[in-house]
Symmetry: C2
Subunit: 98 residues, 2 copies
């Protein structure tokens, strides 16, 4: 699925609720979802549960992008044009600790 | 850009470093990046800066998916098949607070 399509799907389903909740509370919900993904990983939950949790995180990031009216795919391509955004290499050759 | 391509791009650039860092520290870095996006929003930074920050969050979510060997696009489609994962409607008609 194209990232634009993914973002559009989340917009169609959730934009009204995202707007009603507002940007700051949507950020907080995204932290919460990242916490749920962390919990699934720390507790060694099933692959399906981890898949659902990372899908939720992705969906919430799409919601933030929708509220900011930013194209997530374009943002990624602008920042990471096939190479590391810091060292400009693929694979990344940055010398700082990973 | 296809979400699979985005995830593949991040894999090509960062998988070695992601593996060296490990999953738990990669999760922590993702919290950190979400914090940087929050900071950009709270401080009313420029659209370009917010775009860069949300790109970073997306890239880190791709890194987590790569470490878990989960296809992010497939995970999203499984959980949100064009409708809300809870009420099954588009737009979402859940009655709880957004």
């Amino acid at each position: 699925m194209d990232t634009k399509e993914a973002q559009d799907m989340i917009r169609r389903i959730y934009l009204d609720r995202d707007r009603a909740r507002g940007l700051e509370r949507t950020l907080l919900r995204t932290f919460e979802e990242l916490g749920e993904l962390s919990d699934a990983i720390l507790r060694g939950k099933s692959r399906n549960e981890m898949s659902d949790e990372i899908a939720d995180v992705f969906a919430w990031v799409c919601s933030i992008a929708n509220l900011l009216d930013i194209d997530l795919s374009g943002a990624l391509c602008n920042k990471y044009n096939g190479v590391c955004s810091k060292c400009g290499r693929t694979p990344c050759e940055c010398t700082e600790a990973p």
